[in-house]
């Protein structure tokens, strides 16, 4: 499990000059969002008033102030430095899939609180209200350039994309459907790991999903986005025939903070980032968001 504090520093959360309610539908609006108006100085103070809400966005990485329309058009990637802002599942749907082809499955599965864990019910309710999702993953069938696929997309804005019983079950069923319908499987991951609130049952979702993949004979493309960590990385996300990561994504089993505490040393530059994993031979490709759809399509053309 990766601690939330690990995720602040990295490629991450969009800072926008708008309030959550008027915010862009693609943004992960959460407690980690820091508002643009935090800037100091009179000049900036006055400037802030001049800027209409939500028109300007500051890049987390290079600090460039960007026109929001421009960055939206660029799929929430900074045109100056290629920094990939974290985005939600509905934008990944738009980026990857043929318009209007997504047909959701298993949206009738609901999370329970089998451990009667402290504040879990409340947390779930809040997440549902905040994201309009009922869990941190959507699954179903769709098309990419006319080709039928089975797809799962995780959403970090729903309890950190953590895997509990419903995520495990949805992934398992998606694997089974891909197998039964002879479709390639694409899973877009974004997760802090197993969901602590469901205890050992969450751990067993690693077993459920990883063992289910033994059934699959069609291609499985695993796409790792910021962040993909712990239990999700140590199960289906690492088991793709092809593993693709977005630039700068944090990808690792243990959280960087825990590692730093354990070894009492500074971590190497770029540690656990997509490019680091590529260099260490752990993933196939690092692909910019704008090229994801075409890359997946080309791979499926070869493999199907």
């Amino acid at each position: 499990m990766v601690d939330a504090s690990d995720l602040k520093s990295g490629g991450g959360f969009l800072r926008v000059g708008s309030s959550p309610t008027s915010g862009n539908e693609y943004f992960n609006i959460g407690e980690k969002m820091k508002w643009f108006q935090k800037r100091k100085g009179i000049e900036k103070e006055s400037k802030k008033r001049e800027i209409p809400d939500g028109v300007w966005v500051k890049c987390d990485s290079c600090g460039e102030i960007l026109y929001r329309k421009e960055i939206e058009k660029n799929l929430m990637v900074c045109p100056k430095c290629n920094y990939h802002f974290q985005i939600n599942s509905s934008l990944y749907k738009k980026i990857l899939l043929d318009e209007g082809t997504f047909e959701e499955e298993d949206d009738n599965l609901r999370t329970l609180d089998p451990l009667n864990f402290k504040n879990y019910k409340k947390k779930l309710k809040e997440a549902m209200t905040k994201t309009s999702l009922n869990e941190c993953i959507i699954s179903g069938q769709a098309k990419i350039y006319g080709r039928d696929i089975e797809i799962c997309i995780m959403d970090f804005s729903f309890i950190g994309g953590s895997m509990g019983s419903v995520v495990g079950e949805k992934v398992k069923r998606a694997i089974y459907r891909a197998s039964d319908l002879n479709l390639p499987l694409v899973i877009v991951s974004a997760s802090g790991g197993a969901r602590m609130h469901e205890g050992i049952l969450s751990l067993m979702q690693m077993a459920k999903t990883a063992t289910a993949l033994n059934k699959l004979e069609t291609p499985f493309i695993s796409i790792l986005t910021h962040p993909t960590t712990a239990g999700v990385l140590a199960s289906y996300a690492s088991l793709g025939d092809i593993i693709i990561a977005e630039p700068g994504a944090l990808i690792g089993f243990a959280g960087p903070r825990v590692i730093k505490q354990t070894i009492k040393k500074e971590l190497p530059e770029g540690f656990q980032r997509a490019e680091f994993l590529l260099e260490h031979g752990l993933i196939d490709l690092v692909v910019s968001r704008k090229d994801l759809r075409d890359t997946v399509n080309t791979l499926l053309m070869h493999l199907c």
């Binding site: 609901r110 089998p114 451990l115 495990g168 469901e198 067993m204 990883a210 033994n214």
Partner: protein, 318 residues
């Protein structure tokens, strides 16, 4: 590190008293037998009372007890003609996982288990039972000998978890765990998993796939350590007791959730109070499981194993 836990103090006190009286009795040439007998009765009563009212946290302490039998102890007591095998044939030999072949009741078993190491030097050498990727890879490699030569497999789980280090990440520990889970599921021989101490998350699950999952009475198995959970949910590690209760990690809890098949009893006073007896109980459980599994055809075994894990979890369907 203290050799006994706080709640064990009354037991240790009585044991010492009995030993003292025994010595005195020998010196005097007898006469204190009644006294000694009385104390022994008292000891078993006190022990019974303490052990029937353990909190979840006290069970965590037992699972981590410095004298608790480790994998090498179980191997010593249970398996004959033991040969340890080393290395993942890729990078290194990870001493935090031991692997090899030994005989029980005339049957050769592949055995794989975490090993924490007993003394300081040994603990460090074995990284306190926290594997690196090469440990999981060694485990899988040796388990595959079981596939090839049709030997049943026993795994012993006792780890605080995967090691959070740079090398472990560089060599893909998440991938190693994922591959173990997926591939062990397809091994066509009986696999018996025994959680003997700490079942620490992914590092445990990497050798935790099998046809029978047993847990010793005072072992624990969890998605995160109580301390880790406390620091996230309560924002302070000192709430580890609350976190332990919340996470529901005892053998009894796991049986209730259908994660494990059975609980293996421990000697009165816990496995650490009598390694040999604890090992006998584990050995019996291994044979019971083996006899249930040995005649199941490989295809069916694999299918049932996958079904077992595919059913785990609780959710609602609208």
């Amino acid at each position: 590190m203290p050799k006994y836990l706080d709640f064990e103090k009354p037991i240790i006190g009585l044991k010492e008293k009995i030993e003292e009286l025994k010595t005195l009795n020998t010196d005097r040439g007898g006469g204190l037998e009644d006294e000694i007998e009385k104390l022994k009765v008292r000891l078993s009563k006190v022990r019974e009372e303490i052990f029937s009212n353990l909190t979840s946290w006290e069970q965590v302490e037992l699972a981590r007890h410095p004298n608790r039998p480790y994998t090498n102890d179980y191997i010593k007591y249970i398996f004959k003609d033991w040969v340890e095998l080393h290395g993942d044939r890729r990078f290194a030999d990870d001493p935090s996982i031991v692997a090899g072949i030994g005989k029980l009741n005339g049957i050769s078993f592949v055995v794989v288990g975490h090993e924490k190491g007993r003394k300081t030097k040994e603990k460090i050498r074995r990284n306190f039972g926290m594997p690196h990727p090469e440990g999981y890879r060694k485990a899988l490699r040796v388990m595959k000998l079981g596939s090839k030569f049709k030997l049943p497999i026993v795994t012993f789980i006792d780890t605080p978890g995967a090691y959070p280090g740079i090398g472990a990440e560089e060599r893909g520990q998440a991938l190693a765990i994922a591959e173990n889970i997926k591939e062990i599921a397809m091994i066509p021989v009986p696999i018996i998993v025994i959680i003997t101490g700490e079942g620490g998350s992914g590092g445990a699950l990497a050798i935790g796939i099998g046809d029978r999952i047993y847990m010793q009475k005072y072992a624990v198995y969890s998605v995160i350590s109580p301390e880790g959970c406390a620091s996230i949910i309560w924002r302070d590690q000192k709430y580890k007791k609350e976190a332990t209760e919340a996470l529901k990690i005892t053998a009894k809890d796991l049986k209730k959730f259908n994660i494990i098949d059975d609980i293996i009893m421990e000697p009165g006073g816990g496995a650490h109070s009598n390694h040999k007896e604890a090992a006998n109980l584990v050995g019996e459980a291994v044979m019971k499981a083996y006899n249930e599994l040995k005649d199941i055809p490989a295809d069916e075994l694999i299918q049932k194993r996958s079904e077992k894990f595919s059913k785990m979890g609780f959710f609602k369907e609208l």
